[in-house]
């Protein structure tokens, strides 16, 4: 999703997923862990009688906001500025990084703590600042784990969901000197907590994400389970909050809709542990908000795909996606993986991410679980059309589809092709039928071909029409 990030080659989801699946036991473990979260979401949602009405309301509020995003953004800026907040506008990832660095440099910041922010991941903020001599510590436990491991998050809500506790124990032993061989989650969490506590105290600045920004008040809300955003923002003299422009909602009362949906959809909690409202800097402190476009205006302009901007980053579509659960977040090669990532990222770089809309069976579970009713699977379908039209689908596949399409346009050709295919299925020796080119047949038998089609049967038994 990042523009400023190191350029990777074209993402081959199928190959990445095949590598993930090579470890069948681990694939099963990953699938079960995320399915467990999906089940928790089901239980939490079922406890809210008006759940479906809430989803509809949230969807409509977001649709409305997107239809007047320019007005709400300006209103937000005015209120926030009146509250003493410095508001910055960033057209893309590079500008975002320059702005944040500029703020930190001016105040001589050397050490910075950061709570979870997929936007800063998208913009590649960490490597940008590290290259300029600023130390960044991710304070969300999951993000801290992947930071120490030198990896990218594999999930937007549970960044280290792909890491087993044994691996965390080994990592912490190496990086924080915890006991060798320890895998006790409580012990490891406490070790991370103590390590982070010191870093909170010595930080010169805190960067946080934003879950919701409210146009009418100029305030914003940050949701965490660990309280790390609060600790960072309240201890450090400078707080920089980075948000995509689609995070806006018109009124504070709308929080009552979104907060009820967010945590239930994300983790099955009725509410996250910390829901922190920020409106103005504390006396003697600084509060900055960076509003980032980075391709969002382009997406807003695409009729088929603008609804993807309704996303509140709950991650429910990942937890429910049978493909994500069995291929892992890293297989998508983008900051936002899974179904929502597969409709957001092609808008950034179609050539690179053209495989993602095809990394789906179009089962539709993502759309039904989405708390803001994004028609994710429809957009996956629509992106496929765009990808093929723009030449991002292999020439051999397109040639094949053109040929098959021609056959289906001519009834006589169709009947002839069907007869031929059945004949081959029936007569070819197994060795030829299951040669290397038959990908279906690697793990599956081909269907048995009957001597007669239904059409043949009908002609014989019911006469021609």
């Amino acid at each position: 999703m990042s523009r400023a990030f190191v350029e990777l080659p074209v993402v081959d989801h199928a190959a990445n997923a095949a590598r993930f699946n090579a470890d069948a036991e681990r694939t099963g473990w990953h699938d079960a862990a995320l399915w467990h979260v999906r089940r928790k979401r089901d239980q939490a949602a079922s406890a809210v009688p008006e759940w479906e009405a809430l989803r509809e309301l949230a969807s409509q509020i977001k649709e409305h906001t997107l239809s007047r995003l320019d007005e709400y953004l300006v209103a937000f800026e005015e209120r926030a500025a009146a509250n003493g907040v410095h508001v910055h506008w960033a057209a893309d990832a590079a500008e975002h990084n320059r702005i944040v660095h500029g703020i930190l440099e001016l105040r001589g910041v050397r050490r910075m703590v950061k709570s979870k922010s997929m936007l800063t991941e998208e913009c590649g903020l960490n490597p940008y600042l590290e290259a300029r001599g600023i130390e960044i510590v991710d304070t969300d436990l999951g993000e801290r784990i992947v930071q120490l491991a030198g990896e990218a998050p594999s999930h937007i809500v549970m960044p280290a969901i792909h890491v087993k506790k044994e691996e965390i124990g080994a990592l912490f032993h190496e990086r924080m000197g915890t006991e060798a061989g320890s895998t006790d989650p409580q012990y490891l969490t406490e070790a991370a907590r103590q390590d982070l506590r010191a870093r909170f105290l010595e930080a010169d600045a805190a960067v946080t994400g934003v879950n919701f920004a409210v146009a009418e008040t100029g305030g914003f809300v940050v949701v965490t389970n660990e309280g790390n955003a609060d600790l960072g923002a309240h201890l450090a003299p400078v707080h920089v909050a980075c948000m995509g422009i689609e995070k806006l909602i018109p009124k504070a009362e709308h929080l009552g809709v979104f907060l009820r949906l967010l945590a239930r959809s994300a983790t099955g909690q009725p509410l996250s542990i910390y829901t922190s409202h920020f409106h103005r800097p504390a006396p003697g402190r600084e509060l900055h908000v960076v509003l980032v476009d980075n391709g969002r205006s382009d997406q807003l302009d695409r009729a088929d795909f603008r609804a993807s901007l309704k996303c509140i980053r709950c991650g429910a579509c990942m937890n429910t996606c049978p493909v994500y659960r069995r291929s892992g977040g890293h297989s998508y090669g983008s900051t936002i993986p899974g179904p929502i990532g597969s409709i957001l990222t092609p808008g950034f770089d179609l050539e690179k991410y053209a495989a993602l809309p095809f990394a789906s069976t179009l089962c539709g579970s993502c759309s039904d679980v989405c708390p803001v009713k994004i028609d994710i699977h429809q957009q996956l379908f629509a992106w496929r059309q765009v990808a093929a039209r723009e030449g991002a689908v292999s020439r051999s596949k397109r040639r094949m589809m053109r040929l098959v399409g021609r056959v289906f346009g001519r009834p006589a050709w169709y009947r002839g092709a069907g007869r031929l295919a059945r004949g081959l299925l029936r007569s070819l020796p197994r060795r030829l039928l299951y040669s290397r080119g038959n990908v279906w047949g690697r793990s599956r038998e081909l269907p048995e071909a009957p001597r007669h089609s239904f059409g043949d049967w009908f002609d014989e038994h019911r006469g021609n029409r």
Binding site: T361, F381, R384, K397, M401, R402, Y414, P447, R451
Partner: protein, 276 residues
């Protein structure tokens, strides 16, 4: 009531007995069934591969063959969903607008709204409440995604509303049939059209996981509204020699499973033990 029998291409070619069962069922409930002989394919394979323009010929043939009928009924939720949603749905979004407009021009009337998946038609239109058929086996119902979340034949597990399930209701009318409990009631099997080949590893894993769930539940037979899901699962069953068989729901609802299949016997003709 005149019903146009829509037989998806792969059922026509590979599972003709499913089409026969569908025909028999519709006739048993008093429908005047016409099989338009020149039908080919709904166009979904091309469209789902991103090449919806290449489906134009299939869309034209479909609308020419079917626009004259009061009802169009086919034994596949997936193909019916394609007809309803992608071929002849509302032209509100830009990338599909032209395709849908072309389909409507040929159709004259809204073909999509008159096209039904078989179980949907039996329950919503014919409102049948008895079948007079028996099938004394433990059956696992695979909820095929496009019928489930596209056509809303049943309530999907994500949705917080009163549960209903047209397919389970129909199977409930079959004497002796026992539906098995599944841990995951409506997870995708991993077929997904070209996905089955382009994402082979995930597809196969998804299929294996579904089968394990049905086997844990004690299913002797796995059934579904969609033979394409079952083709994928059957491929794994046969390769891994698992003690379970697949049958399209139309076969069970129409009864006489074995006799109908025997008429089309292929290489693997014998269904050991038989299903009656």
């Amino acid at each position: 009531m005149t019903v146009g029998l829509f037989v998806p291409c792969y059922i026509d070619q590979l599972y003709p007995f499913v089409a026969v069962a569908t025909l028999e069922l519709l006739e048993r409930f008093g429908c005047d069934v016409v099989y338009p002989r020149d039908q080919t394919c709904c166009g979904q394979p091309m469209a789902n591969a991103g090449c919806v323009e290449d489906a134009a010929g299939a869309h034209r043939v479909f609308t020419e063959q079917f626009s004259r009928f009061d009802y169009i009924v086919g034994p596949s939720g997936s193909c019916v969903l394609h007809v309803r949603e992608h071929m002849a749905g509302p032209a509100s979004k830009d990338s599909l607008g032209a395709v849908r407009a072309a389909a409507r021009e040929v159709a004259g009337k809204d073909v999509g709204a008159r096209t039904y998946e078989l179980c949907q038609f039996l329950v919503d239109v014919l409102e049948i409440d008895r079948l007079d058929v028996s099938f004394a086996h433990r059956v696992g119902l695979h909820a095929a995604c496009h019928g489930l979340r596209g056509l809303r034949i049943a309530r999907a597990s994500e949705i917080q509303a009163e549960p209903y399930d047209h397919v389970a209701d129909l199977l409930g009318m079959v004497d002796g049939l026992e539906l098995v409990e599944l841990a995951r009631t409506d997870e995708c099997c991993g077929f997904g059209g070209t996905f089955a080949v382009s994402e082979e590893a995930v597809s196969v894993r998804m299929g294996r996981d579904r089968l394990a769930d049905h086997l844990r539940g004690g299913a002797e037979v796995i059934t579904s509204t969609d033979m394409s899901c079952l083709m994928h699962l059957d491929g794994l069953i046969l390769r891994e020699k698992l003690p379970v068989r697949v049958l399209h729901v139309a076969e069970i609802l129409a009864g006489h499973v074995d006799a109908r299949r025997a008429a089309f016997a292929g290489r693997r003709a014998s269904f050991a033990g038989g299903w009656s």
